[in-house]
């Protein structure tokens, strides 16, 4: 089975499982019974979860009949390493922002992200990256803090 066909199957199963989980969650909603009221807060979640289950089954059927299109070029050359590092950096940036503050975390994040995304044919220039990161972080912080009164987390450095 090709990767694309496998992906279509996985998608079908994910939809079906998500639909069932949503259905269970809908059934656990604490909705007080009122005489004569048939459409309550659980009505729409029930309808949507049922549709999701049906769509999951239809997707599995579509996956069975799926014929992958021939690809031009040398196929899937996705750099999942860079994707993983980028997601990790963004998560780290947000998680540490409350403790280290926006200005410092932004500088650290930007330098790290610039480095991770630098193409192979280009040299990593830490000095330039740091200068850009410091200017961007300071400009964004000062603009939003003083022009728009936005209380971005400052961390240990109170400006």
């Amino acid at each position: 089975m090709g990767d694309a066909k496998k992906r279509e199957y996985v998608l079908g199963f994910v939809i079906l499982i998500a639909g069932i989980v949503y259905l269970v969650m809908a059934s656990q909603l604490k909705v007080p019974e009122r005489p004569g009221v048939h459409v309550d807060a659980s009505f729409v979640p029930y309808v949507l979860s049922s549709i999701m289950c049906i769509l999951g089954v239809l997707q599995l059927r579509a996956a069975k009949n799926y014929v992958p299109k021939p690809k031009a070029g040398n196929g899937d050359d996705v750099d999942y390493g860079t994707v993983g590092k980028t997601i990790g950096l963004v998560f780290g940036y947000v998680a540490l922002m409350s403790y280290l503050g926006f200005p410092l975390m932004t500088v650290l994040y930007l330098v790290a992200q610039f480095t991770v995304l630098t193409p192979h044919d280009k040299k990593v220039n830490y000095v330039l990256y740091t200068v850009i990161a410091v200017i961007a972080s300071t400009f964004i912080y000062l603009t939003f803090r003083y022009a728009f009164d936005m209380m971005l987390p400052v961390g240990p450095f109170d400006f």
Partner: protein, 508 residues
């Protein structure tokens, strides 16, 4: 009327108001262009500034921010494929591919000119037919709103190019996410897992930033290291004259633009929905009515025209119920209502008689800021395009930081930043699974409208569903919805059997 209009023109051409309108338009464009910042934020942030100004000057500033903010979103939608605000979601569908084809300047030019025309048509509607239109819209009740929401939701099928199952799934997931928080009517808390921050549900802006901006950054990370000179794109301005498109192309888009303006005005008048919905609906209508619907999404100017005309036409549309009835049509006009209140002005039917001069000053400020928007964006075109020379690995992380700031600014909470990451991962999952993102947004925006009005309508008709069919406007929209679904299923089946027949013939 003419003397009042003359007074209005004279007022806006004073040094103070002229300067404020120019400033407001430029700031509005910047707010629209930066993902995460919206015209609503711009108007809300500058509301306190109007305290110290007179009524005419203060409201002119707010109007200019509104016009600039609505139009500015097209810049990032085309250049970066990231909609600056919900009003430019559909602009990315064809604006992005045009950019990839090296026709970014043309896409920007078309977007700017038709943004201008959409605003102008809506101002004309506001001046001449405002009171009549507002009275009709006021008759709409829960039944009508439910039917309109259902009709718009059925349009998802049209957007689901490729797989209908995946398109529908995207819409259903969007709708499902909108059910998080306090339910309408009986205020039952749903799917919050004890998190009080989820009580008010997810903010549309965080959903949008996550789905389009964060997922785009992750997507770029897939192959940015292997690309040579990895810039966003290249647009040569050397051969570009004027706005970058020919007179023939302009004339060819006039009907599309006019139809989109009418859609924008119509949706703008209805309270609760605005430019965020009108651009998608107008895009779908343009695609359905086109002689070449299969080209939509691959980079045709028709898509940019439809989206940008409709979202800007909402400006005049949304001001119609605000000025004539005192009802805000969308979030921006709700904030603007506050601006009126600050100056002791009560919008409503009496406004035209008691504050005639002020009303016409607002109209004149609208016209002036529309012209300024055209000029600022025209002369800024060359500067916007220069943004593309910045390498991807430098530009995208900075945009991500701006998205983080935009999300944080919604409620000064780190929670909203986590939300954009969640939707960023969902958006990336959609990209990998071949699921279209636009239906998600439609489901998320229109889902709550459909649910709320379904339940309100049932309350009004004592639980009887027939009310939705017997009310003429509601019944007509539901019939249209059903016909649209059956027509698309029929067309899909016909296309499938034609394909099968062709395959059999080839084998034979």
């Amino acid at each position: 009327m003419l003397s009042l209009f003359q007074q209005g023109i004279e007022a806006v051409f004073t040094f103070q108001i002229f300067g404020l309108v120019f400033f407001g338009t430029v700031v509005g464009i910047i707010f629209g262009a930066v993902p995460g910042l919206t015209s609503t934020m711009a108007v809300a942030l500058f509301l306190p500034v109007t305290y110290s100004l007179g009524a005419g000057a203060g409201i002119s500033l707010l109007v200019a921010l509104f016009v600039g903010g609505t139009s500015g979103a097209l810049i990032s939608a085309i250049l970066l494929k990231i909609p600056g605000t919900p009003s430019s979601v559909a602009t990315t569908f064809d604006g992005g591919p045009l950019m990839e084809k090296g026709e970014g300047a043309k896409a920007l030019g078309v977007g700017i000119v038709f943004s201008f025309l959409g605003t102008v048509v809506s101002i004309i509607a506001l001046i001449f037919i405002a009171p009549t239109l507002a009275k009709i819209a006021l008759r709409f009740g829960p039944h009508e709103y439910f039917a309109i929401a259902i009709f718009s939701l059925t349009l998802i099928i049209t957007l689901a190019s490729g797989s209908m199952v995946k398109g529908l799934l995207s819409g259903v997931i969007g709708f499902a996410f909108s059910t998080v928080g306090i339910a309408p009517v009986d205020a039952i808390t749903r799917f919050t897992f004890g998190q009080t921050q989820l009580n008010s549900g997810f903010e549309i802006l965080t959903v949008l930033i996550g789905l389009f901006a964060i997922s785009e950054v992750i997507k770029v990370a897939e192959n940015v290291k292997h690309e040579k000179a990895a810039t966003i794109g290249k647009v040569s301005m050397k051969s570009i004259k004027g706005f970058g498109f020919s007179m023939q192309e302009f004339v060819g888009q006039l009907w599309n633009g006019f139809r989109s303006a009418l859609i924008g005005i119509g949706i703008g008048i209805l309270p609760g929905i605005g430019a965020g919905t009108s651009n998608i609906v107008s895009y779908i209508v343009a695609k359905n009515r086109s002689k070449y619907p299969e080209k939509f999404g691959t980079g045709v100017i028709d898509g940019v025209v439809a989206s940008e005309t409709a979202n800007n036409a909402c400006i005049g549309g949304a001001l119609i119920p605000l000025l004539t009835l005192g009802i805000p049509g969308d979030a921006v006009t709700a904030v603007m209502l506050g601006g009126f209140m600050i100056h002791g002005i009560q919008p409503g039917p009496l406004l035209f008689t008691t504050q005639g001069a002020l009303v016409y000053t607002i109209f004149a400020a609208l016209i002036l800021s529309t012209i300024m928007m055209l000029l600022c964006e025209f002369y800024g075109l060359r500067i916007f395009v220069k943004l593309l020379a910045v390498p991807k690995h430098i530009l995208l992380p900075i945009i991500l930081v701006l998205c983080v700031v935009g999300a944080f600014g919604l409620g000064n909470r780190i929670f909203d930043i986590w939300t954009i990451l969640l939707f960023g991962l969902i958006g990336y999952g959609f990209v990998k699974g071949g699921i279209p993102q636009p239906p998600f947004i439609i489901g998320f925006i229109l889902g709550p409208m459909a649910e709320t009005n379904l339940r309100r309508g049932l309350q009004l008709s004592d639980g009887d569903f027939m009310g939705f069919l017997t009310e003429p406007i509601s019944g007509a929209f539901l019939m249209l919805s059903a016909s649209s679904v059956f027509w698309h299923i029929f067309q899909a089946q016909r296309a499938k059997s034609a394909k099968r027949r062709a395959a059999v013939e080839v084998q034979a």
